[in-house]
Amino acid sequence: MQDFGEAFALAFGLVLSPTGDLAEIVGLSLRVSLTATVLACLLGLPLGALLATARFRGRGAVLVFVNALMGLPPVVVGLLVYLSLSRAGPLGFLGLLYTSTAMIVAQTVLITPIVAALSRQILEDLNDEYAEQFRALCLTRWQSVQALLWDGRYALLTVALAGFGRAVAEVGAVMIVGGNIDHLTRVMTTAIALETSKGELALALALGMILMAIALGVNALVQSLRLSAERQAAHA
């Protein structure tokens, strides 16, 4: 296979002298997946905190359901969002299909269960430790949840990264609801799928390498932010 060597050369070439198209695709990938991650955290963290701290009938069933949703195939999410946003669907009047907003919606649906389920586990462990002390301090539920979210922030950051990783790597959902339209909804993964279908395997692999480098970069950035925050907390 000379494809690997060719792909490395192509990837380096693309990174060293990026074309406008590549920058556009990378930028859209990051915008869509980061926005979806932020939205998924806004929805998933409170849900995770609620499941971690509240005891109600049917909680066990809800936990099983949310955990199962983590395994939702992106294609299925894409189909559900497509059917909702299609002109023939209930939200068709919004005219959102084949826009980056639709892609954000699909990825948000895809990773919110991940954020909720993983944060629930982290917050529940923390809550086991804090709950009695919080009741002794007469805190309201909302105050307790805020404290749990803040004290679990570093572990929750990893949860957000897991969500981002899944969002930026999936192709099934954005392909269906975004349509892989050039200069409009083409992202890294749909571009890779397209190049593969055109038989341009080396180019597809090169794009894959760039995607990995981006994911690596985002993780490294978050990790270094976290470390410097911890250092500040320890020495300031």
């Binding site: 932020v38 002109r87 005219g95 954000i104 339209i181 050039d182 055109k198 341009e200």
Partner: protein
């Protein structure tokens, strides 16, 4: 919440619609061949209308258009297209252009069909030789055409499904990748093949039969059924494609000196 404001700020620019634009639900072959990259800038420069192409299999493209998720349909499966218009999905179907299908195979030519021009005979030979044939198997325009040719050849390939007849259930490119990977014969449209980047030792084995012509049609989506359709822009795109100028542009698209599509809109 700061995060909420940030999210809104990120979302809003996407929710706004660009100037004048239409969505074309298209078959993959025209998109993968690079035809749109050549045609659309010419059209956009003349009219200021942006054309966004969603490239999927013909079956899915028709389904999406029936859901009103597009302004123009450009596919290659005449009976299905006529059914779509008859059901009120589109205003009118017009022949646009054709290209042809070819059967590609490995250099060794295990079935010995290289150079044949009678496609039915070639298919029969392949089925009897024990060589592998990879089919789209996805109800696309290409797949429908292939099934029709097997029927004409009097062979039921389904009997060998999973053995010598392998249905990939994927697009043209994916099927070519898979077929080449297992040394199978594959029927593909010529445009996709010429543009295909992963040919390895494959060459065209069978071509030139009139039965392998591949007719494309263009259909504006019916505004009576889909009020969201950008009627004027959709109509001007369809009109431009079948105009003398558009037809000339189609004929002018060449890869490696080969013309890929042959305009044949009614004058």
């Amino acid at each position: 919440m700061k995060l909420g404001a940030l999210t809104l700020a990120l979302l809003t620019p996407f929710a706004l619609h660009a100037q004048e634009s239409i969505i074309v639900q298209s078959t993959t072959s025209t998109a993968n061949s690079g035809l749109y990259d050549y045609l659309l800038p010419i059209f956009t420069e003349e009219t200021g209308i942006t054309v966004n192409v969603v490239a999927v299999g013909t079956g899915q493209a028709i389904k999406n258009a029936a859901n009103c998720d597009g302004d123009v349909l450009l596919v290659h499966a005449k009976p299905a297209e006529e059914k779509f218009v008859a059901e009120g999905g589109g205003t009118m179907r017009t022949d646009l252009m054709y290209n042809d299908f070819v059967i590609v195979g490995p250099a060794g030519d295990p079935a010995g069909v290289g150079g044949m021009t009678d496609v039915e005979a070639a298919l029969k030979t392949i089925s009897e030789s024990g060589a592998i044939f990879a089919s789209r198997g996805d109800d696309s325009g290409t797949h429908k055409k292939e099934v029709a040719l097997w029927n004409a050849a009097g062979v039921d390939p389904k009997a060998g499904s999973g053995e010598w007849y392998r249905e990939t259930g994927s697009g043209m490119g994916a099927t070519l990748n898979a077929g080449i990977g297992m040394g199978a014969y594959v029927m593909t449209d010529r445009a996709t093949w010429i543009n295909f980047g992963n040919k390895q030792d494959y060459t065209i084995a069978v071509q030139g039969d009139e039965d392998m012509f591949n007719q494309y049609g263009v259909i504006p989506v019916n505004p009576a059924k889909c009020p969201n359709v950008n009627v004027d822009a959709a109509q001007s795109f369809a009109d431009w494609l079948i105009s003398a100028e558009g037809q000339e542009a189609i004929a002018g698209y060449k890869v490696d000196g080969q013309q890929l599509f042959f305009p044949n809109a009614p004058k």
